[in-house]
């Protein structure tokens, strides 16, 4: 078993909110992702058992959403929107700049395991395009300067945490009202 009893309980609580089991697929995937940091077929199988839906339906839903990484990622997953509004407002340049800055290509992780960069479809933040998402936070109206300071902040942040306690690679799980519930 990969999922902890805490996660399973959370899934069951969220399941109770829906009339049909299928509706609980995304909340369940979200909880699993919050625990593990990424998703894989073994997890889909566990979820399928818990919420009693066919395995293939869980696997399909998980594969549909880029916000569920399927491989190990760095501590911070930078999801840069490349859809139309963001593109018109310079998302491509931002993407190029981040790649240059971190010395990685799209889809790769930095050597220190801190950052993974991917591009995603519209995150509903068009009014403040271009934008990117890390964990449950949106960083909007991006400019090169903003990216510089964001990355610097994240680096210090990680260093701090490392001193306090060993990193758990667990994204914050308190802000439950994220877009996943939409």
């Amino acid at each position: 078993m990969i999922l902890t009893t805490t996660t399973i309980d959370k899934i069951k609580t969220r399941m109770a909110r829906y009339p049909s089991h299928r509706s609980a697929i995304l909340p369940a995937l979200t909880e699993a992702y919050r625990q593990v940091g990424n998703l894989n077929p073994a997890i889909y199988k566990e979820i399928a058992k818990i919420i009693r839906v066919p395995y293939v339906e869980v696997a399909e839903a998980a594969s549909f959403y880029t916000m569920f990484p399927k491989n190990e990622t760095g501590r911070y997953l930078l999801q840069v929107c490349h859809n139309i509004s963001c593109s018109l407002r310079g998302a491509d340049n931002m993407l190029l700049y981040i790649q240059e800055k971190l010395g990685i290509k799209l889809g790769e992780t930095t050597k220190d395991n801190l950052f993974t960069l991917i591009s995603v479809e519209c995150l509903g933040g068009c009014s403040a395009a271009p934008m990117l998402q890390i964990d449950d936070t949106y960083y909007e109206n991006l400019t090169r300067e903003k990216i510089d300071s964001l990355i610097a902040d994240l680096r210090t942040n990680a260093a701090h945490k490392n001193q306090e306690a060993p990193s758990t690679a667990t994204p914050d799980s308190d802000s439950t009202d994220s877009k996943d519930d939409v």
């Binding site: 077929p41 889909y44 066919p54 395995y55 293939v56 339906e57 696997a59 399909e60 594969s63 549909f64």
Partner: protein, 851 residues
């Protein structure tokens, strides 16, 4: 929503200036088709719900501001539709341009070429060049650097994503219609991938349909790939030669071989979906292992002979035995998938020419211990149940049938009733079955205690006063016919809680269109006549029509054989029809049924047996008995396609043509007479059953005149004259749970039957089906595996009082408790050695140490 189309509201609308009236609920695409206006489409399918995924079917509808998807737009009164405005033509072009954006245009090497909706739609409505200049997004095979990214996603299914138009017909069929979960659409948009879920493959019984339903060459099957261009193949209308559903197929062939079978939609039977056995089960015809020369046993070994030698020898031998010892000493066993025409002549050979009544087609039953089948059994077996009517059911009880294995087409109809009509489904079986997922309750009765379950249900109906058309006195009288004599005892005996039985009883009684169907577990049990009595009683208590209560027939033509009189006792009317047709008198002697014939052979009362298209040596479920009986025979003739356990014992072996090698007809489980046409002629040296029988009859009686041109008509006349018995609504039979064989040292009940992908003994000659299952195994429940410390694939010794075997284990979610299953479709292992009358099917299991 009861499915009676008669009272449907009518809607009048205008399409391209023509006014028309159609049923409410029709979509614009269908309505247009009714007046011959063709709207192009990919994702629409008459048997699937509309999803509007491909946008190919755009039309202009007045008052709707932008083009509408006609497949998902319901007709409305006064609607004005235009299907060919400039705007629409432009929109279609646009859709096709997008669909072709990443397409590899590999039509010359694509198997779908010539029958591809994309080719047709582009030809009719597309443009000849694309305006896109950027790099195309294609799945590239990294090794060969081609766009043939073919991936095998199941034993028979190959997938090429570059050709996919994401219509989702494949996944919709798989989930909605078949209720299977081994195919999905992963990722999204132009990255969509059709595949089995990670770590699995698509191998369900209906998986071949996803290939057929794919409008393009994204899914192809192994069977047909790269063998022939479809327009080079000739087609023949045919019928599946295995189970009794009678699924309609088209055979594709050239002068050398058969290439594939596809569905020939028949809504009365298959709704256009065929199971893999119907699809790939033709392949035995192509097998290189076919017998091609007659064999005659000389000094203990079978040596090749000519047809005249073989026929002469048989004629001589039969005539001699008839003269010396009497015709009662000759018997005939006919396989259940021989055509009506062959069956008719086989009957004539025995009854008219040899004067013996000992013929039977029921070869796969355990001994008919209590004589012939009961009146109730025959009545339910003949019942005019129509597969298509099942979709109107609001409640169904499937009793003693692993429906998906037994009757693939009926199984899909049951799912349709559940899906479209909210039918309540109950199943009662000795093991869990695939229908469990749609069952309100899945009742598992103790091995051999099906009768007790039916008795319990009868008690529940009577105790709860849930019966119809009888009074209390009658009800009390019926109760006294039952044993166990009350609900509690009967429930304990079958191992199902009283509450669940009461619940079932009230649902059955409350149903408006109830069906009760029995199948393979019933047919194969030795007390099937009593179970039939119980079902008959139930049908009367619940007052359901004759067509709604049936025991389903087993093989492609067992019902035809029955209607043609291929069993020892003939109804008087049929006897007269036959005697008139043949211009003879029929023998007076009582004939023997299969088990009596074998018994007669063992006791040397029967000297000669002619087996045609059947393999009792492998399939008769009493191995030691059938072996001894066949060995005792003075003269055994076997006509078959392959060397079999039976043919190896024969004195003369005749190479028999397969079903597709001659014109013929079958009668399916509904009593539906269906003709099929010859595809490829048999190879030299092989003869059709009708020809063999004709040769033999004229060799025995040279006076005999034949008019083969009227054979088909004669056969049809006889079939039509069969009087279908009506259930006597006043009649109730005594029903008693049989005693179970003492089996102390043998704790597990063995069930023997067909593997999901096999049927009978011929399918092991079908390479595609062998990919799904190629060797026998022993299937057991997780609980039992845990108890005995068995892992999947462990070698187990299975032992009964009559024999033992070593087989690989297969742990199954569909099994519960102490019941195990072994398929009897593989000649490599003599499974029937484990069963005899004495063992009653009980065995013990021992895990072998891994070496």
């Amino acid at each position: 929503m009861s499915g009676n189309g008669n009272e449907k509201e009518q809607i009048t609308l205008t399409i391209d200036g023509q006014e028309l009236t159609v049923d409410k609920g029709t979509n614009v695409l269908e309505a247009a088709a009714q007046i011959g206006i063709e709207i192009p489409y990919f994702c629409w399918h008459p048997k699937l719900d509309s999803v509007g995924a491909c946008r190919m079917c755009l039309v202009d509808v007045e008052k709707i501001p932008k083009p509408a998807v006609s497949c998902a737009t319901e007709v409305m009164p006064g609607m004005v539709v235009k299907t060919a405005t400039d705007e629409i033509i432009k929109a279609r072009r646009g859709v096709l341009e997008f669909i072709l954006l990443n397409h590899p245009l590999d039509c010359p090497t694509c198997d779908k070429g010539g029958e591809c909706d994309l080719q047709d739609n582009v030809f009719n409505f597309g443009i000849d060049k694309s305006r896109q200049t950027f790099t195309r997004k294609r799945v590239i095979d990294t090794q060969t650097k081609t766009t043939f990214d073919d991936k095998r996603i199941g034993p028979e299914v190959w997938r090429n994503m570059n050709r996919c138009v994401t219509c989702f017909k494949c996944t919709r069929f798989n989930k909605e219609i078949a209720g299977e979960w081994d195919l999905g659409a992963f990722q999204r948009g132009s990255s969509t991938v059709i595949d089995a879920p990670p770590g699995e493959q698509i191998d369900n019984l209906y998986s071949g349909n996803v290939v057929e339903i794919c409008p393009v060459g994204a899914l192809t099957n192994n069977d047909w790939r790269y063998k022939i261009r479809n327009w080079k193949a000739t087609k023949a209308d045919s019928i599946c030669s295995h189970d009794a559903d009678g699924q309609n197929i088209t055979l594709w062939y050239d002068h050398r071989q058969l290439f594939r079978a596809t569905s020939r939609p028949n809504d009365a039977i298959d709704d256009g979906w065929i199971c893999n056995i119907a699809r790939y089960g033709y392949q035995y015809i192509n097998s290189p292992d076919r017998l091609t020369k007659p064999l005659i046993k000389k000094g203990g070994t079978q040596v090749e002979a000519t047809w005249p030698e073989a026929i002469e020898l048989i004629a001589k031998k039969f005539s001699k035995i008839k003269g010396d010892k009497g015709s009662v000493c000759i018997a005939g066993l006919l396989g259940g998938n021989q055509s009506n025409e062959t069956a008719y002549l086989f009957n004539q050979l025995f009854r008219s020419v040899l004067h013996s009544n000992s013929v039977d087609y029921r070869l796969e039953y355990t001994g008919l211990t209590d004589g012939e089948h009961s009146e109730a059994y025959n009545c339910l077996y003949d019942a005019p149940f129509q597969i298509s009517s099942l979709e109107t059911a609001d409640c169904v009880l499937i009793y003693g049938s692993n429906l998906i294995k037994d009757h693939p087409a009926v199984n899909l109809r049951l799912r349709k009733a559940y899906r479209k009509n909210d039918a309540k489904v109950y199943t009662a079986n000795p093991v869990e079955t695939k229908s469990g997922d749609i069952s309100t309750d899945e009742l598992i009765y103790n091995p051999d205690c099906g009768t007790a379950f039916l008795v319990a249900l009868t008690h529940a109906l009577i105790d709860g006063k849930l019966y119809k058309n009888i009074d209390e006195a009658k009800a009390a009288e019926i109760k006294s016919l039952l044993e166990p004599s009350n609900l509690n005892e009967a429930a304990t005996r079958c191992g199902i809680e009283v509450d669940r039985i009461n619940y079932l009883a009230s649902d059955l009684a409350g149903a408006k269109n109830l069906f009760i169907l029995g199948g393979d577990y019933l047919r194969a049990s030795s007390d099937r006549s009593r179970q039939a009595n119980a079902l008959y009683n139930l049908a009367n208590l619940l007052d359901i029509p004759d067509s709604n209560s049936a025991i389903l027939a087993s093989q492609a033509n067992s019902k035809g054989a029955r209607f043609l009189g291929l069993s020892p006792q003939l109804p008087a009317k049929l006897a007269k029809t036959l005697a008139d047709k043949w211009g003879t008198t029929l023998p007076e002697s009582t004939g023997c049924n299969t088990s009596e014939i074998l018994k007669g052979a063992l006791e040397e009362e029967i000297d000669a047996v002619f087996v045609m298209g059947a393999n009792p040596g492998m399939r008769y479920p009493d191995g030691p008995f059938v072996d001894a009986a066949l060995d005792k025979l003075d003269f055994l003739v076997v006509a078959d396609l392959f060397e079999t356990a039976t043919s190896l014992k024969a004195d003369v072996v005749l190479p028999l043509a397969g079903w597709s090698e001659a014109d013929g007809s079958y009668v399916n489980l509904s009593g539906m007479y269906q003709k099929f046409s010859r595809a490829l002629k048999p190879k030299a040296g092989i003869k059709a059953g009708t020809e063999i029988l004709q040769l033999l009859m004229t060799a025995i009686d040279p006076q005999l005149k034949f008019d083969l041109s009227s054979l088909s008509q004669n056969t049809r006349d006889v079939i039509d004259s069969w009087a279908i018995p009506q259930r006597d609504k006043e009649k109730f039979f005594p029903v008693k749970q049989a005693h179970i064989v003492d089996h102390e040292a043998f704790p597990y009940r063995l069930l023997i039957g067909n593997d999901l992908h096999h049927y009978g003994y011929l399918t092991e000659h079908c390479p595609s089906l062998m990919k799904f299952a190629s060797e026998p195994y022993v299937e057991l429940s997780t609980q039992l595996a845990e108890k005995l410390g068995i892992d999947d694939g462990d070698l187990l010794r299975i032992e009964s009082t009559s024999g033992k075997l070593v087989l690989k284990s297969k742990i199954s979610e569909f099994f519960e408790g102490d019941v195990i299953f072994i398929p009897n479709n593989f000649s490599a292992v003599d499974v029937n050695c484990l069963v005899s009358k004495e063992t009653g099917g009980w065995v013990k299991i021992e895990k072998l140490d891994d070496k």
